[in-house]
Symmetry: C2
DNA sequence: CAACCTATTTATAATAT
DNA sequence: TATATTATAAATAGGTT
């Protein structure tokens, strides 16, 4: 940007890269400070550089901490307001998860009661079941009975089923799904935990993003006076 | 910075301030991106501006989230390494707090047992006390007895006390401190909560810092390759 | 290395469209 | 109000000390 129009690419020469970094870091700091004073922006800058052994902060430690604390403090509240796309995205995921969870629970309950039903058929008692269990059990039995009647009707009408006419009981037995252990929600819970994790950590894998060499920088200007609806992505031409 | 050497002060004219902000924001973004590519810095920039209704992010939402997550993720670990002064400061405060808590607890226990002692003297039973209580109670009684004997000795030696020679019992009664209700740790707990709050929020009051108009900006460049011991505070000349 | 040069490129304040 | 222009201030690449 002087003496020669620099090509915008990684500077391979270590010393010149370092020199450039130092100069530009200084320039950036100045720019931030100017923007802050000129436009009344409450700003801070922290630069952990690979070359300095102590971070540079602007305007000072306290100021930076204040600004950072504002950021850290607002998370689930203001931050999400500003990340509406993120928020709605997560809401979708949560809604979907809840639905899946509900569905899964219902399915598991059914399986559980099916298991109980078969145990009952095998002669085990029903003494340990409470009212809710019995209710659900009766529902499951009803469902199975309906299935059986249906098949009987089909057979009565002279069906082309390959099974014998007395196939009802065997059919049901074949239909028996493997019973779940516990409530079978482990998978669901893990998934939820993952999502929560993702959410809290904004967890995007380094591979995905091509990051990970350990030098990172944040510039943030927090402003509370608006509701952001989208995060555009097309700055400087 | 052109056509006229701008004076570095808040631009009062609203429209020109906005114009300046937009231009400079763009410039800053460009600078960040240049620094990032030229020096291989993993950077991001987020600007919630008062003028745009959606934040500007660089390089993109994912990238910014990644960098921010790095920051959010490291807190008590890496971050504290870089904030040694803060850490040691807080350690001091915590140590001090713990000591005070201990002292306060002991004092409260003593008051509690004193209360019990007076209740016992007033005729109430000691059935509800456990071994520990009884132990502490006996200690408190011993202490009081010691005090009484001391005063008796002083009187025996022909003292100049204004009270009569049989003043032992009344003296003790006068010495009785108001008993605490509960464990009397409320004050301590509140203080601890405050400190914890301070710690978590990096809570520095807005008045102290002269901040608070709601427009904030962060620039951070994270680097893991060093151990910072101090946070210097002297950038650009 | 750091600090200082300066030829240039960039950024941008004021202005025009 | 946003964008384009342009004169000028500021930033800085490549040297030099």
């Amino acid at each position: 940007m002087t003496r020669k129009k620099v090509k915008l690419a990684y500077i391979t020469n270590d010393s010149s890269r370092k020199a450039t970094f130092k100069k530009r870091k200084k320039g950036l700091m100045k720019k931030v400070s100017e923007l802050s004073t000129l436009c009344g922006i409450d700003a801070c800058a922290i630069i952990y550089s690979p070359y300095d052994n102590s971070p540079e902060v602007w305007p000072n430690i306290m100021g930076a901490q204040h600004v950072l604390s504002e950021f850290k403090r607002m998370p689930e509240m203001e931050q999400s307001k500003k990340m509406v796309n993120q928020e709605s995205f997560m809401k979708q995921r949560i809604a979907k998860a809840s639905e899946q969870l509900k569905k899964q629970s219902k399915e598991n309950r059914e399986k559980e009661m099916t298991e109980v039903m078969y145990q009952a058929l095998a002669g085990k008692g029903l003494q340990n079941l409470n009212l809710g269990d019995l209710n659900d059990l009766s529902w499951v039995i009803d469902q199975n009975m309906k299935g059986i009647y249906k098949r009987i009707e089909a057979i009565k009408k002279g069906a082309s089923t390959s099974s014998s006419s007395a196939a009802a009981a065997p059919q049901v037995a074949a239909e028996r799904k493997p019973a779940v252990t516990g409530l079978g929600l482990e998978g669901m819970q893990r998934t939820q935990a993952e999502w929560f994790n993702d959410w809290m950590n904004n967890n995007t894998s380094e591979q995905q993003l091509g990051f990970g060499h350990g030098n990172e920088m944040i510039i943030t200007n927090f402003n509370n006076n608006h509701n952001a609806n989208v995060w555009p992505n097309d700055f400087f031409p």
